[in-house]
Amino acid sequence: MIGVIILIAVLALVVLVFVSYYNSLVKLRNQVKNAWSQIDVQLKRRHDLIPNLIETVKGYMTHERETLDSITKARSQAVEAQTVGEKAKAEAELSRSLGKFNLVVENYPDLKANQNFLSLQEELTSTENKISFSRQNYNDQVLFYNNKIQMFPSNIVAGMFKFTEEEFFEIEDEKEKEVPKVSFS
């Protein structure tokens, strides 16, 4: 009799532990998803801003066709990208071409006096910042989640219910992502 009770108690304990691990895995997975959707919002915002930007500067920057085309191209690639890895690559390319554009803008004082352009530039800068801050948040969440999946004993639960590791949102060269230093005086 006592043996049966102990058996039941042990089984109940095991089930409880399983449930708690399962729940914490679900919670982490949702946090990763939520963090990703936050990046996605900002990436979309950037995609929406670029046509406006090109439209505004086209008249001023007649000699910079190449730079502007590369931005448009990078944008359409980024819009089409599907997986996290592809997106990261395409968005990095877009960031690079926008960085080049910011350097070129220095040669156009007229443009820098255009109120419309200035507010677009502010929006774009802010969106870039938001992307990088939400990327940091996303990577933190992915790290927590992947750790949980790999570590014992939660890895058993993860294996049984097919929790798979998530990709980090990495940009190959952090230096290239940085906004170039420009001084306005």
């Binding site: 502010e122 938001k130 801050f133």
Partner: protein, 384 residues
Amino acid sequence: MGVTLILLGFIFGSVYNPKSGGMVGIFIAVALWTVLFLVTYSSGSKILLAVSGAKEVTKNVHPQLYNVVEEMKIASGHPFMPKVYIIDSPAPNAFATGLKPDNTAVAVTAGLLTKLNRDELQGVIAHEMSHIVNRDVLFMTVSGIMLGVIVLLSQVFVRSMFYGGIGGRHSKSRDSGQAQIIFLAIAIIFAILAPIAAQLLYFAISRKREYLADASAVRFTRYPEGLASALYKISQSTEELKSANKVTAPMYIANPLKKKGMKLSDLTSTHPPISERIRILRSIAHSADFNAYQNAFSQISGKKTKIIPQAELNDAKPIDIRGASGLPFVGQTQKQVKRNVGDLVMQLNDFSFINCPCGVKLKIPPSYKYKKVKCPRCGREHKG
């Protein structure tokens, strides 16, 4: 501080009635604190914002400020967007308020907007955002009210002693009379010391919270120089923030009540000395995580105090510091920026604008009653 409050209630109560008065005293002290807290909690941040004359702004009014707040909201991982306010004052300063996470606000002065560039503003907002994330406003309100109750009880007690002379009322038996005299002596000492001790404790907590907010700001922005140079500019300003007072002071980024020649390293200051905060921030060179700030703090201040909770230090991993964005405010020259912000504040205060063909922009206050207004330069008449 809570312990001081309960002890105070017990001792004062015991003076009036040695047998059961202690419990009654505790009850009164705690009840008083609860009532005051509930009043503050339900009125929320409205009082503070109203006292400082802050006006709410939307994204359309000042996109940059709104964007920076949103960026820091994302960086801090706070789920709710705080409301954004501008205070009409030339003194550069900022504060955060809100007791509930879903109903918070960040307020900056017009002076701050004219003096700082984007990176510096980001540093200041990050500091305020970390006050919100760390729930410092709630924390400081709770301890501020406790301080208030301690001071109040001590005052009432000392005054009732002075005028009432309660000594003779309960001296029926010798034992209780003696106990009463002992309690009386303790109570008088306590009534003098407790408010002082509570005040010092309150200031110490406030200062520690400021350091923590600086550390979090570095982690959020990954750019310590932004906050450092913002603090430098704030410390260099000579304007005075008229709407600040003793109660609202701990909420601001820099002590708004500084006086000429006053040493900020004073024990009775709500904020750590600004020069020390700047030196700590500037000595961070390699990483923007909590460990880097803690090390810089120990090195500069020479104190071993843990500014940041140990659990956070254990979890911290190095974060790369980013470069300056080099972006100014919308508008080119300093003069233009100042004018833009000035117009903005007037707009928020219901001024109306008329552009005269001669190039003058007439600014009409809401109290202007006449139907026509004359341009001061060319003499044309406009409808008011």
